[in-house]
């Protein structure tokens, strides 16, 4: 996460439910047009499906569902921000569905303020801070993407849907 806290970091902003959010640009691998996404029955509700990223099958996360925002409306400007998320030792590549792409912004430490205790559309735990941009002093919400997609939640989301047999990992006994 060091790239987000070092001096004058670049961020990529995108629009979710009318609000502008941003991610550290080093996390972003590419931005692609929203194309066919295959639904995966039984996957967590915030997983919109999977798509083909040059031969790899990559899940698309619907952040509006994950963050409890009003649901996304697909338009011509909808796009997928492909990011790399760290979970333990693993780097996972996944797509984030966004209403539109914003801009690339540069923020120094003095431009980032801690989020208020409440009032933000997204829970403060999911925010690294608020970035002040331009002369208009508009706020951009800086997402803590690792936390949003933390391993704990990912695990519980999939465990709920595992068949009941899965949990009985180690039955006792042996056969004659």
């Amino acid at each position: 996460m060091s790239e987000e806290t070092s001096a004058a970091t670049q961020y990529l902003s995108f629009i979710l439910a009318g609000e502008e959010y941003a991610l550290g640009i080093l996390r972003v691998k590419e931005i692609i047009e929203y194309d066919t996404v295959t639904r995966v029955p039984g996957a967590p509700v915030w997983v919109r499906g999977v798509f083909n990223l040059r031969g790899s099958v990559v899940p698309v996360v619907d952040l509006t569902v994950k963050l409890g925002l009003p649901p996304i409306q697909l338009t011509r400007r909808s796009c997928i921000v492909v990011v790399e998320v760290k979970q333990g030792n693993e780097d996972i590549v996944l797509g984030l569905l966004a209403d539109a792409i914003g801009q690339v912004i540069e923020l120094g430490p003095e431009d980032v303020a801690p989020p208020p205790a409440f009032g933000t559309p997204v829970h403060v735990d999911y925010l690294l801070g608020m970035g002040r941009v331009g002369t208009a002093r508009k706020f951009i919400l800086l997402l803590d993407i690792d936390k949003v997609l933390s391993g704990q939640e990912v695990l519980s989301a999939t465990a709920l849907r595992a068949p009941p047999g899965e949990e009985t990992e180690r039955p006792t006994g042996k056969v004659a």
Partner: protein, 559 residues
């Protein structure tokens, strides 16, 4: 010379974070793993053929290992290897007799070495001596053999020096010839691509046939490359079988059973993933055969058999699949005990007498055990259902064949490769699904008259009632069912079932892609694949899908 190696080792060790050192360590681990396996096999062979023989190859391996360990700064390993070397020199000079006790000690020393270099221990931790004990025993054996020139006291070493920090890389040795051919092919493919691109840029000059021909040229090269790459992933199964010789030996000694371990088909090639994943099921089956199948020498003699039993691990190809068998000539499955236990557990009605197939389903059921007491082997909290699950996750099947008093054969039938399957494509609405062809028996049209609305229904297939599952409803895809639906008849454990889909698209090779972290392990889906138009299609896991339906079926109300 040793000193020099050690000095180099320390030098490298003083800067533990360099990527170079990590690379050296990874290389060392890959080599050490092989050397230790060779050592183990050599020691086991040595035990079997008692008599004067040359130990030079063993000593050579040990020496190489010692050098490698020195280079990465594993002083403890160097010392232990040196001790082993000394001891084996004595054995070669016949100053020490190699008896079973010493054999066990030497093998345990190999285990300790394995642990020290940071490789996973191969045998049960409970049966092992601590490293220091092994070392002490080796030293005393060495002293007892002949007065040894006094060696300098062991220098004190930090306990953490042997702590492994580098994760072991999964490596594979590939023949240089194969790699050369791959490089050739990639070169030719790039030429073909260039030519095709050039032709397409001036497409007006060529006929569609000419363009297609140019594309096909490249295609042929590509298919060759694909086949070659698949072959590179194949490894002989012998490497997987070898460690079991040791397991059988150790278990035989521990249980007072005389067992000969026979391997056959060691050069049969399997996908490296299969070789890796088949280890656990085999361990279960081998232990099971040792514990329950094979009898003690006294019992065997009383039954008119030779005192030494045999346990074979076999591998062979059969009809495009790989078959691995664990065969013992022991007592055979105790049908009465299994039946009695199944009745006690309520898995079987009081009057039912199961055939072999049904019997197998019983013993592979979770939590099933007929062991009267919990032994060291059977009380480990893992059952035969693990075998079943692991084999099924490899898209294989398990079967058993047993003759009372003559032995039991477990057969595991596995696909040759995991990355490509023959698939049968079907469509539901806008979605395409792939059913593994091995599950597909036939396809029939579902007559509108027999179609029942809802998730499931049944249909008369040549007079028999065939239950079916409507994928559209099951996956909640929405949309309306078309007037004409098709049924894919699939075979599973309990018989036949149908999958109702909109359209049948036909069969073809399917390259399996993992679904990624968020969508992994979902019931009914085993992976995904890419279609010709770039879309992702899901591959259905037929047994899990049907299991899900069965579990969801409400139990009949009891009167």
């Amino acid at each position: 010379m040793n000193k020099r190696i050690l000095a180099r080792g320390l030098l490298l060790h003083s800067d533990p974070m360099t990527p170079e050192l990590e690379k050296i360590h990874a290389l060392f681990l890959a080599e050490a793993e092989e050397q230790l396996a060779t050592l183990e096999q050599g020691l086991l062979a040595l035990e079997r053929t008692s008599g004067p023989q040359s130990l030079s190859s063993l000593l050579c391996t040990l020496h190489t290992l010692k050098g490698g360990a020195g280079a990465v700064g594993l002083t403890e390993t160097v010392e232990l290897a040196h001790l082993l070397e000394d001891l084996l020199t004595r054995v070669e000079a016949q100053a020490i007799v190699l008896h079973a006790g010493l054999g066990s000690l030497l093998l345990q020393a190999v285990d300790v070495l394995r642990e020290q270099v940071g490789l996973a221990p191969a045998s049960e931790p409970a049966q092992r001596l601590p490293a220091l004990e092994v070392r002490r025993l080796l030293e005393s054996t060495l002293k007892a053999a002949r007065p040894v020139p006094s060696r300098a006291a062991v220098p004190e070493r930090s306990a953490s020096s042997s702590e492994p920090t580098v994760l072991r890389e999964h490596t594979l040795r590939v023949g240089l010839g194969r790699l050369d051919r791959m490089l050739d092919l990639t070169g030719e493919i790039s030429i073909a691509r260039g030519r095709l691109a050039e032709m397409l840029a001036q497409a007006h000059r060529y006929t569609p046939q000419q363009l297609l021909e140019a594309h096909r040229d490249g295609d042929r090269l590509y298919l060759d490359l694909q086949e070659l790459v698949m072959k590179v992933r194949m490894v002989p199964i012998g490497r997987t079988f070898q460690p079991f010789v040791r397991t059988v030996r150790d278990l035989g000694l521990a249980m007072g059973k005389q067992v000969r371990c026979e391997l056959s088909g060691e050069d049969v090639e399997v996908d490296t993933t299969i070789a890796e994943l088949i280890r656990d099921p085999l361990t279960h089956l081998v232990r099971n055969a040792m514990d329950h199948g094979l009898e003690t020498p006294e019992v065997r003699q009383a039954r008119g058999k030779e005192p030494t039993g045999s346990l074979s691990l076999r591998a062979f190809h059969d009809a495009g699949t790989l078959v691995i068998q664990v065969v013992d000539d022991g007592a055979g499955l105790d049908r009465e005990r299994i039946t009695a236990r199944a009745r006690a557990l309520g898995l079987l009605g009081p009057e039912e007498t199961p055939d072999d197939g049904a019997l197998l389903r019983l013993i592979l059921a979770p939590g099933f055990s007929t062991a009267e007491r919990i032994t060291e082997l059977s009380g480990r909290g893992v059952g035969m259902d693990v075998v079943k699950r692991n084999v099924e996750s490899l898209r294989g099947t398990v079967s058993v064949d047993s003759t009372p008093g003559q032995g039991t054969t477990f057969s595991l039938r596995l696909p040759l490769t995991l990355s490509i399957i023959e698939g049968f494509n079907v469509a539901v609405g806008n979605e395409t699904y792939v059913i593994p062809l091995q599950n597909v028996l036939e396809c029939v049209e579902l007559p509108a008259a027999e179609s029942r609305p809802g998730r499931t229904g049944f249909f008369s297939l040549r007079g028999a009632a065939l239950p079916y599952l409507r994928l559209r409803e099951h996956f909640g895809l929405g949309g309306s069912t078309p007037a004409r639906e098709n049924l894919v008849v699939i075979g599973h454990e309990r018989g036949l079932a149908g999958l109702a889909v909109d359209t049948l698209l036909g069969q073809g090779q399917t390259v399996i892609k993992p679904l990624g972290r968020f969508c992994q392990g979902l019931p009914g889906l085993s992976g995904s694949t890419l279609l010709g138009d770039g879309r992702v299609a899901l591959i259905l896991d037929v047994p899990a899908l049907l299991q899900q339906v069965l579990q969801a079926a409400p139990p009949a109300a009891l009167a």
